[in-house]
């Protein structure tokens, strides 16, 4: 019953957990369902450079992060102009024609452009390509806002580097700086940075400046390998040198860093991780994110046609942990809210996915263990209850056996003292009567007296047998072995089954209660032999060994299959159960060994 109750409780709990999970799952689906209700916006992201260029990739990631939830991912079109690898001006026109063909019939709600070539392309070709479509730009170092205002529907985010902030930072972290080496490329964007740099350096008249722009890279290497400790490199972008060598942005920074003993600073975050110490930076992701937010404003404000202001994001102080260590720069010297990248990964960071997986497995296992512990706890409680019940039952059994034994003893005594005595007197009286009746008396009287004497004798015998069954007087007077011998003789006479009793000559020193229990077990066994065994011989063995009395009742009958017997739960089990209980009541053990065709042996052991 307890088990059934437990199963019901568990099932209910599992159902509740399942229901909660289902509800959570449904709730998770709600935002996407709501998102699906937004108008179907279509946005084009036009990148100046190629996929894999970190600055471009970061801006894209920022834009997509801002648009997420408002514009479906599959409605965002992404193009890479790869302007760095365009050689001829007519390439742009070809690109315009290609886009025109590709996007004919498709109307964008907004166009997001990253970096200057794409912006210039949109200024030149946008009105013909996507007439009336608002444009948001990012990554633009310099833009003539008054010029933009003349062009309809353009806004965006400026990535104008803060040179002054960087020089301030350099002087803060390297107070002994006397010389700033400026490495920059001779492109339009490079020229903007050059101008910004010149303007800013007017504020630092005590610093010497070396320019490396539009030079053979060999010149740079010759110089930077010899720079003294009072120099710092301020690196813009250097993708192509004077003699036409082209460098990947990672490659050139790596080479510069490997070949100089002085720190390198840069205003662009994509240079980080290859040897740049850090700087007051413009981050690609932030640029893209801000432009994406403007696109959202454009989409939502399209009705009232108000263009958002051009955004000038704040500097982010970002540093490379490895370079900070290389130049022995303490983190306490860094500006507030500085971000440090490439720091030593904690074990958690290094194996984040593995840790999450292990934690999930651990939680699942913990839940399973908790449930199992709960089940074990219930089971133990039930087992204890069962044990208590069994103890009570056994106690009651013992008490019942005692009462039964006492009652049998009383009845036996009564039969002996009253009925037995009376029958003896009756017999004596009948003999007296026979002696006083004249010899030549009535034959009829003689016959009746003889019948009565026979009857008295038979009744006396039956009473004795009954007394023996109820309580063997021999047991009390001579002990177990003698009682068993006496009982066996009677049993053999009555049943014709030969019973042999083997036991010690000396009466074993065991308690009377124990003797009674063993005697009753033998009685029950012999009854079973008679009823079920079809045996011709029984051997009862009593033996005391190692502080224990061993009792064995072994017959040569048909035996039985114990497994089958247990499975069928036969009524015959009551006799065995009673015997077992009797043995347990005197702290003994009880077992039956039997198999079909090989007789049955009942074995009892009790401490003496």
């Amino acid at each position: 019953m307890a088990s059934l109750h437990l199963n019901n409780t568990l099932s209910l709990r599992l159902l509740t957990i399942g229901y909660i999970s289902l509800v959570c799952l449904c709730l998770q689906q709600i935002p996407s369902a709501i998102a699906g209700e937004h108008p179907l916006y279509t946005v084009l992201i036009l990148n100046s450079y190629h996929r894999g260029y970190k600055w471009t990739d970061d801006q894209n990631a920022g834009i997509e992060a801002a648009l997420k939830g408002s514009v479906n991912q599959n409605q965002i079109y992404v193009e890479y102009m790869d302007a760095d690898r365009m050689v001829h001006d007519e390439d742009l026109h070809d690109l315009y024609l290609a886009y025109k063909r590709k996007y004919r019939g498709l109307e964008f709600n907004a166009v997001c452009v990253t970096d200057e070539p794409a912006l210039r392309f949109m200024i030149d070709y946008g009105p013909r390509l996507f007439p009336g479509t608002p444009v948001a730009f990012s990554g633009i170092i310099y833009i003539d806002e008054s010029h933009l205002k003349r062009i309809h529907n353009f806004t965006g985010v400026r990535a104008q580097p803060d040179v002054k902030a960087n020089i301030d930072l350099i002087l803060r972290l390297h107070p002994g700086t006397k010389n700033v080496v400026f490495i920059n490329e001779a492109t339009n964007e490079g020229q903007r940075l050059h101008e910004e740099f010149l303007t800013a350096m007017l504020l630092f008249p005590s610093l010497t400046v070396q320019f490396f722009e539009d030079v053979d890279t060999k010149e740079i290497f010759r110089s930077i390998t010899k720079l003294t400790r009072d120099s710092v490199i301020f690196y813009g972008v250097f993708r192509r040198d004077k003699v036409g060598r082209v460098f990947d942005y990672r490659e050139i920074v790596t080479l510069l860093s490997r070949n100089t003993q002085v720190p390198i600073y840069s205003p662009w975050d994509f240079n980080l991780g290859y040897g740049i110490v850090g700087g007051a930076m413009k981050a690609g992701f932030s640029q893209g994110e801000a432009a994406g937010m403007q696109v959202l404003q454009l989409l939502r404000g399209a009705e009232y046609e108000t263009m958002p202001e051009i955004v000038k994001p704040r500097n982010q102080y970002i540093f490379d942990y490895n370079q900070l260590r290389r130049f022995n720069i303490g983190q306490d010297k860094l500006p507030e809210n500085s971000l440090i990248v490439n720091g030593p990964e904690t074990l958690y960071e290094k194996h984040k996915n593995l840790v999450h997986t292990v934690m999930a497995i651990f939680l699942i296992l913990l839940t399973i263990i908790s449930v199992l512990l709960l089940i074990i706890r219930f089971k133990r409680r039930t087992e204890n209850q069962l044990k208590t019940s069994q103890e009570k039952l056994r106690s009651l059994g013992r008490r019942l056996a005692e009462i039964e034994e006492k009652a049998m003893k009383n009845i036996s005594r009564e039969l002996h003292d009253e009925v037995g005595q009376n029958l003896t007197v009756l017999g004596v009286n009948l003999n007296i009567l026979r002696s006083i009746i004249p010899q030549k008396g009535s034959d009829l009287i003689e016959s009746r007296i003889s019948d009565s004497l026979t009857l008295v004798k038979q009744t006396t015998q039956k009473v004795r047998n009954l007394m023996g069954m109820l309580r063997s007087p021999v047991l009390d007077d001579y002990g177990l072995v003698a009682a068993l011998q006496f009982y066996s003789e009677q049993y053999s006479e009555r049943t014709g089954i030969a019973v042999q009793v083997r036991g010690p000559d000396v009466r074993p020193m065991i308690r009377a209660r124990c003797e009674s229990a063993l005697f009753r077990i033998v009685q029950e066994s012999l009854t079973n032999v008679l009823k079920h065994a079809h045996a011709t011989e029984v051997i009862i063995t009593v033996d005391v060994n190692n502080g224990k009395l061993h009792l064995s009742i072994e017959d040569n009958g048909q035996g039985f299959d114990q497994n089958q017997f247990r499975e069928t739960g036969s009524q015959r089990g009551w006799g065995l159960a009673t015997m077992s209980e009797r043995a347990l009541a005197v702290n003994g053990s009880f077992r039956v060994e039997s198999s079909p065709g090989f007789g049955t042996q009942v074995i009892v052991e009790v401490p003496v």
Binding site: Q210, K218, R245
Partner: protein
Amino acid sequence: MTRALKGAGSLQTFTSFFIICLAILASPSHSAPADTIKVGIVDTYTGPASYFSLDVLDGFTFAVNKINAKGGVLGKKIEYFTRDDEYKPDLSLTMAKELILKEDVDVLMGTINSGSALVVSDLAKKEKMPFFVTHTKISKVTMEKGHRYVFQMTDNSDMAGRVAGKVLAKKPFLKYWIAGDDDGYSHDIAETVWKNLKKNNPKVQMIGQSWWKMGETDFYPYIQQIMAAKPDFIITAMAAVTAAGFPRAAKMSGLTQKIPYYEQTAIEHGVICSQGNETPENVYGGTSYLWYYPATPANRTFANEYYKQYKKYPTESSLDGYITAMFIAEGFKKAGKIDKEAFINAIEGWSIDSPLGHLTIRACDHQLGRPLYFGVTKKDPRFDFLIADDIEVVAAKDAMAPCSQILRLRKK
């Protein structure tokens, strides 16, 4: 161009600018002729591939020491700079640029990675810098992608394929299976061998192919598949650095006892040594150098001297390095000056003496002509490593693609 500025528009600006310009112009490395001939080596010095790259370096150093001991070339010692590319082509390119930009090398050489060889070759072309390809056998570098500034100093996969196809065609095998790394290089090798085999013996049949991902470690499923198909012979094609696992699996599974197979570099001493005791017997393969064959006085002397210095026998990679150094020295000597263009003109079609006799760099494609040896691995009680048996020698001229074919490929 270098400019200097101190403040803006101040006199000091110009003074600083002048001083810096002077300093740069006075820099000894700027325009003064170097006292040494500088060789930049980009190769893999970390990881399993370094086993072969270090042999190249040993062979190169062995030769350079000899050359420098004799006074160098044109009165200049040969100086070399190494850079580890960690078996990464992008790093090879960066390191090659560093050697050019910082060390101002006169010649580049390397590398074991075929991808690296191609990107560095491209850089060499742009920089007009002679580049000697050592160890990697990619044929593209001097065939389709060849140019004036690149030289292949070892045999290439096209040559090895031609030789294998020619020799295998004479064997009694008819049913073939092809297996290898699923990359372009291995496909190229297998295709070349098969094409030449089929050309030399039209009766051969390909009954199946297995291609595993690069770096595969569990070869048993493939071996089971091959054994079930019961081919007469297997042609395998693997990169040297990943080829260690297959012989081990082939040996353990009993494949080599049942079906003989070909592996391009199976009899190469360096490859056998790199695989420890795992190399099975009865594997067919080729090499362009065996220290014990031919037992000519020149080869014996080289192997003996090399052994005395390094306590190991020279490998094909050692000879690659050695020959490269000898060609660099002889090239500049012939050119009479340290000039890259004159150097290239000098070594095009030029021959030098080597442990293998006269070796010539063919003018049309800059491929070094080396004889190729084909054989089968076999135990020898004298050594604790396998050696090649049943060796067949194919002369360089018979192994190399004709110039007309190379030129056709380059035009495509």
